[in-house]
Amino acid sequence: MNKLLKSKGFQNASASILSIIFGFVFGFIVLLISNPANAVGGFLTILSGGFTGGMKGLGQTLYLATPIIMTGLSVGFAFKTGLFNIGASGQFIIGAFTAVFIAVKATFIPTEILWLVALTGAFVAGGLWALVPGFLKAYRNVNEVIASIMMNYIGMYLVNFMVVKTVFDAARNQSMTPTRAIIPKVGLDTLFNGSNVNLGIIIAILVAIIAYIVLEKTTFGYELKACGYNRSASQYAGMNSKRNILLSMVIAGAFAGLGGGLLYLAGSGKHIQVVDILAAEGFNGIPVALLGLSNPIGIIFAAIFVAYINVGGFYMQLYKFVPEVISIMVAAIIYLSAFSLFFREQISAFFKKRTEGK
């Protein structure tokens, strides 16, 4: 028992769980302040989250988890290699546009494989978008945070411009519907009746597993992590740290880009809106990565958790909470959970004290 309590895996998981509890407590306080009468009911709804709507709610949870698994991986993968990719938002939307563009315009590609081609396009486009900050960081030592923030805005405006130019549905001020390239449902729609879940969640989980294998089992991952932990030592060991930084950024971008493709080809009626707002899925990758401790497998669970809370938030509307309060509440839980992870040290110290006390 003592061994278990002191094991690293347990400490990591318990830190994540304690952080989540902390987030919930704070969320409850927000509810109490804004609408004391319905606070308890609303809070229970959020707690039961994805379970609220039965199989449909669970399906929605998986559907919503799909893109943020990808952006979470994007942030987490870069982080493992010592980079902070805050540009997932731009990479995500560029991927989304590329997917929609191929889906609508590439009429010469057979329907059966069009979705696959479109997703590949999203993957590549996201990677290319991250090439810029990656190159600047590796060869010019420009801070990747600043470069990728700029690329977020450039990406957003470029996509708005390109949507209007190429795949515009003027009546609705949004992109056209990619009817021919919808990701297959593979029976998930009957299992989770009424939800939008599709093959995308399986793709996302597979990609996460591949990312895990690359990071933990291959020489390439060994180099990437060495470079992230200690760049000087990786140079001393003859690794090409510049190339590694570039590649790591490109891979991170490709993950986010694929996330964009997976969301907009889901056939859930989601379109790229021509508005000046950065894609939220990109930023949600940050708390997902934090909660998952940048471990690809942890990120799968973290993304599902975040989606679960969001679905709970959706059902909270029944209690007549204004959408803003719901958003605050959801954001509070997610971000507080993620950031209280910074107190991990204290948490493991707490457990140490307790076991020492005995």
Partner: protein, 508 residues
């Protein structure tokens, strides 16, 4: 006799190891008390317990005869205990003065009040001959100066009990002499000092008593004056240690490395860090580059290993031109490098020992298959080296290198580089921070390399190492080679003249 510090029956465990096993340490007021023990014996751990960084499972600490509860460094400070760590903890883009007052600063109307602080710093600096400029930036001062800032920090806080964890490992011989004087001075003012070092000479020079630890256990406390160096090392290692390096006649073979008119630009000044340097290294010899720290040795090594680009000149290794080869190409073609800075270059501290031991070879067939790491082989390799080089840590191959003792980190690097079986081994300060037993072993290994017809290029600041191990000495001064000597005939004094630039000769 009255003790200022008593650590009684201290026990501290880490996963897989009892770092301190029922250790007792009693320090008298006004004495310099040395703490001696092999790498990983538990010295740093014991001091961390005293300073409140670790909490011992068992044992009591008494300060001035009273039981003291020390749970964190703030408690330690309350009892007047200060510590200079094995690796310094100064804020680099702050000035000396700002670093000194950090944590005890006085604020008035939201502004730092530095005037009184400055006066106090200047007064202390004068009193103990520290020669500190309060306005210098930490990033601009030398390692020796950084250490004095750490000392000043303790004095500023009016600490009475001063802990020095291996303060001399990073210093030049000149700086060491000065530090010894400062320490004696402090002791004569009534401060009590605990001094960790592996160098028996230093203990002989300044310490009053010494406590010896071995593998986490207390061995004895003895008077320095009546104990010989041989006795001390035997107590510490448990066997006799050879201070002389045993080696046979050298049989120099063909030239393996030829350096021609090498020039390396300096990063800090307009002068060249390495200026028109030429020399040859032969198989079967240990060539030593001697000199005072900061005379271009580091840049020379960086240029040879590929860490720094070369301005002009050329390098021939085993007959082929490697002037523009990458680090990896040089490494694979048979050059090993024990780097000067083990934390910056030598180790990925967040990797475990096994992962670090393949840092230069993970891409070789033995350790990977189609890009997949062969963990079984990697751990087998680690277990072998751990045995062979006696690398000690809590969890063997699985230990995070960050948690290992300084000397064992060094042993891990040396093991990795020698195990590559290089044609040319470039060893920079290879025995820094090692205990006498480990030094003996590493020196034996260097001689073995040479006897096997390999070449060793040794860069060392340690006069005794230079004289004992090398077959030939080149002295570097201000980026140039200024003298050549045969260690069998040259005197230390003469070497010193070359090293300080007072004497120079043309090297053919």
């Amino acid at each position: 006799m009255e003790y200022v510090i008593e650590m009684l029956n201290i026990t501290k465990e880490f996963p897989g190891i009892i770092a301190n096993d029922d250790i007792t340490l009693q320090v008298r007021k006004g004495e310099i008390h040395a703490l001696l023990g092999e790498n990983g014996a538990g010295k740093s751990t014991l001091m961390s317990v005293l300073f409140g960084l670790y909490k011992a499972e068992k044992g009591t600490i008494k300060v001035n005869g009273q039981v003291a509860k020390i749970h964190n460094p703030n408690d330690a400070k309350k009892y007047g205990i200060g510590m200079v760590h094995q690796h310094f903890k100064l804020v680099h883009n702050f000035t000396v003065l700002e670093n000194v007052v950090l944590g005890v600063e006085t604020v008035e109307n939201g502004f730092l009040k530095l005037k009184d602080a400055r006066e106090k710093v200047e007064k202390i600096s004068k009193q103990y001959n520290l020669f500190i400029d309060p306005d210098a930036l930490i990033s601009d001062i030398s390692v020796g100066m950084e250490q004095r800032v750490e000392i000043l920090k303790m004095l500023y806080r009016e600490n009475e009990i001063l802990i020095f964890d291996e303060p001399t490992a990073v210093l030049t011989p000149q700086e060491i002499d000065e530090l010894m004087k400062i320490m004696k001075n402090l002791a004569s003012e009534g401060k009590s000092i605990i001094f960790i070092t592996h160098k028996l000479n230093e203990i002989k020079q300044v310490a009053d008593r010494v406590t010896v630890l071995r593998k986490g256990k207390y061995i004895a406390t003895v008077d320095v004056a009546t104990t010989s160096k041989e006795e001390m090392s035997e107590m510490m290692v448990g066997r006799k240690v050879l201070f002389e390096v045993e080696k046979g006649e050298q049989k120099p073979g063909e030239v393996i490395l030829e350096v021609k008119n090498l020039v390396v630009k300096s990063k800090h000044s307009h002068k060249n860090a390495v200026n028109n340097v030429s020399f040859k290294v032969r198989r079967g010899e240990i060539l030593c580059i001697a000199g005072i720290e900061g005379n271009g040795q580091t840049d020379l090594v960086y240029a040879l290993t590929g860490l720094t680009p070369i301005e002009s000149g050329s390098l021939l290794f085993k007959g082929s031109d490697i002037t523009h080869s990458t680090i990896r190409q040089r490494s694979v073609s048979g050059i090993s490098h024990i780097p000067e800075d083990r934390h910056k270059h030598g180790l990925v501290l967040d990797y475990n020992l096994a992962e670090n031991l393949v840092l230069q070879s993970y891409f070789q067939k033995d350790y990977q298959n189609n890009g997949f790491l062969k963990f079984e082989a990697i751990y087998k390799h680690a277990t072998d080296l751990i045995q062979q080089f006696d690398i000690r840590s809590g969890e063997g191959a699985n230990s995070k290198t960050r948690s290992m003792s300084g000397g064992n980190q060094q042993k891990a690097i040396v093991a990795r580089e020698i195990d590559k079986n290089p044609d040319l081994l470039i060893a920079v300060q290879p025995t820094r921070g090692l205990d006498v037993g480990a030094i003996e072993y590493i020196h034996k290994k260097l001689v073995e390399q040479r006897d096997a017809g390999k070449a060793v290029l040794l860069v060392s600041l340690e006069m005794i190492e230079v004289m004992n191990v090398s077959d030939r000495i080149l002295v570097m001064y201000e980026g140039e080679l200024v003298g050549q000597a045969d260690p069998r005939v040259v005197s230390q004094q003469e070497l010193g003249l070359y090293m300080s630039g007072s004497k120079r000769e043309v090297i053919e």
